[in-house]
């Protein structure tokens, strides 16, 4: 098993959930937070998840 596959998938899912929250509930704030933290962390996780998935795909292609 290529670990990048499940980790990439996991972060992609987290990214979708957080980005969704950031877009549809942009005013959600904790007492000391001034920015839309869900949106920014969500996007970063999406990027990281996609990166892992692309890497896994490339490795799988090379093998076959």
């Amino acid at each position: 098993m290529d670990l990048r596959l499940p980790s990439g998938l996991f972060f992609a899912i987290l990214g979708v959930i957080l980005t969704g929250l950031g877009v549809f509930a942009p005013d959600m704030r904790a007492p000391l937070t001034d920015i839309n933290i869900n949106l920014y962390s969500g996007i970063s996780m999406l990027v990281f998840g996609a990166f892992l998935l692309v890497m896994a795909r490339r490795a799988a292609r090379k093998q076959s």
Partner: protein, 558 residues
Amino acid sequence: MKLAAVDYVILLAYFAFVIGIGWVLRKRVSTSGDFLLSGRSVPVWITSLAFIAANLGAQELVGMAASGAKYGIMTCHFYWLGAIPAMIFMGIFMMPFYYGSKARSVPEFLKLRFDEKTRGFNAIMFAVMTVFSSGISMYALGLLLHLVLGWNFDVSVLASAAIVLAYTYLGGLTSAIYNEVLQFFLIVAGFAPLAILACAKAGGWQGIVARLPANMTHTWKYMGHASENPMGVELFGMIAGLGFVMSFGYWCTNFLVVQRAMAAENMSAARRTPLIATIPKMFMPFIVILPGIAAVALAKMTGVGGGHLYDLPMKLSNGVMVGDYDQVLTTLMAKFYPAGILGVGLTGLMASFMSGMAGNVTAFNTVFTYDIYQSYFRKNAPDSHYLMVGRMTTIVGVALSILAAYVCKHYNNIMDLLQFVFAFVNAPLFATFLLGMFWKRATAHGAFSGLVSSTVAAILTFGLTTAEHKGGWISPVHHFGSQMVQNFWIALAAFTTCFVVTIVVSLVTAPRPDKEMEGLVYGLTKIKHDEGARWYQRPAPLAVFVAVLVIVINIWLA
């Protein structure tokens, strides 16, 4: 702190993934070696991240933020003075013997190099220690979840133990290691935003420096005198105690981390495992310690209504209010994380707990199966028998950890005592390994008497000194500035005793013939220098690179 539905969704998704990884990996287990040692086939980037993740338990995460708030940036010495140099030493000088000797565990190396009794002593100490470590960490997590979220202590302890058991039972060490990598990513994803938000709110690093006493924002500047720095430690105690004895003892001899490197696919990968691991390790303080430091600055700032932005948590202890630093991390999360990212942060905390516990359980089952069961109970059984024993030991290990968690819950002073024991238990072992690997004259009787006498020396030091009302049960002749400094000195005493006694006893006992020690001692071992590999794939250039990097960081924040 209240969780929203989305936070539970994230937590459940994580549980589904860790168990799923175990489920997929169960097919890779057909021998005891697959289950307990990963069949020595794990890619190097995975072993490297698992190497630090196994150490990154919930107590580490909570404790580092706590120490950040209590001692300031000096806490970073645990990383930049302690862990990194030790990891470099381990990769360059010690891994060739561990991996090359084909020993399956750290105690087994002691058996090959010395004798059965040295191995037995170490294996039993280690088995007891791992069970109680994961018990203590389980107790700490259960307590935290109860305090912060109001969750039931029993349910959180049993449920998290059940999940760890599920994936380690299914996929063995490979499953534990793979999940540790996922856990590492999640810890970073869950806590890096907190460090950034807390730091930004406190006005960036400049804002923090302006609000904190100067001795909390410099790593080296106030080390000259014990009374000048918040840790109450002097330069020698810091460098020799923490930097040398404690860190080298932990990172070079603790099977919990060594096991991760031993699972690598070849010698070069095994040596590069701790070296590559130093790079993320070096930057961990910015995620785990910085929030604690920023918290102190936030507690000095006033908001719109005139109240403090943040108040350091307090608790009642012996009738006085004192800082409850262990709650710094979670209270910060409550202040900065709205639903969504809060779920990620909390899942990160659970992940760190699970990686710490799985690390202990997988090290425990290997040591028990190979070093205790196979050496003292049944020597020549077929491999399938040991696989079965390994699996059963996994269940027993988790059960014993749960038991240990309840022991700690009901007898708080036992926990204090154990944490004291863990503070020094690896220190003398490092002396044994240092002499065993680099001095061929060291004998089995020397090693054994060194280990036993150093344990006595540690207990005596604890009995003769006090710090924060702990210790001094024989007669207090010296007082230390903090418990941490006391630990440094106990470790130093244990190490020195072991070192001296081992040498003296070795010199009066019969030496072992050179021929028996090939591959175990420096000078009698041909270390392969991987000629074919490109320069950047070799351990030595990598070691030089990370060494320079850590020196730069030390100077930068001196």
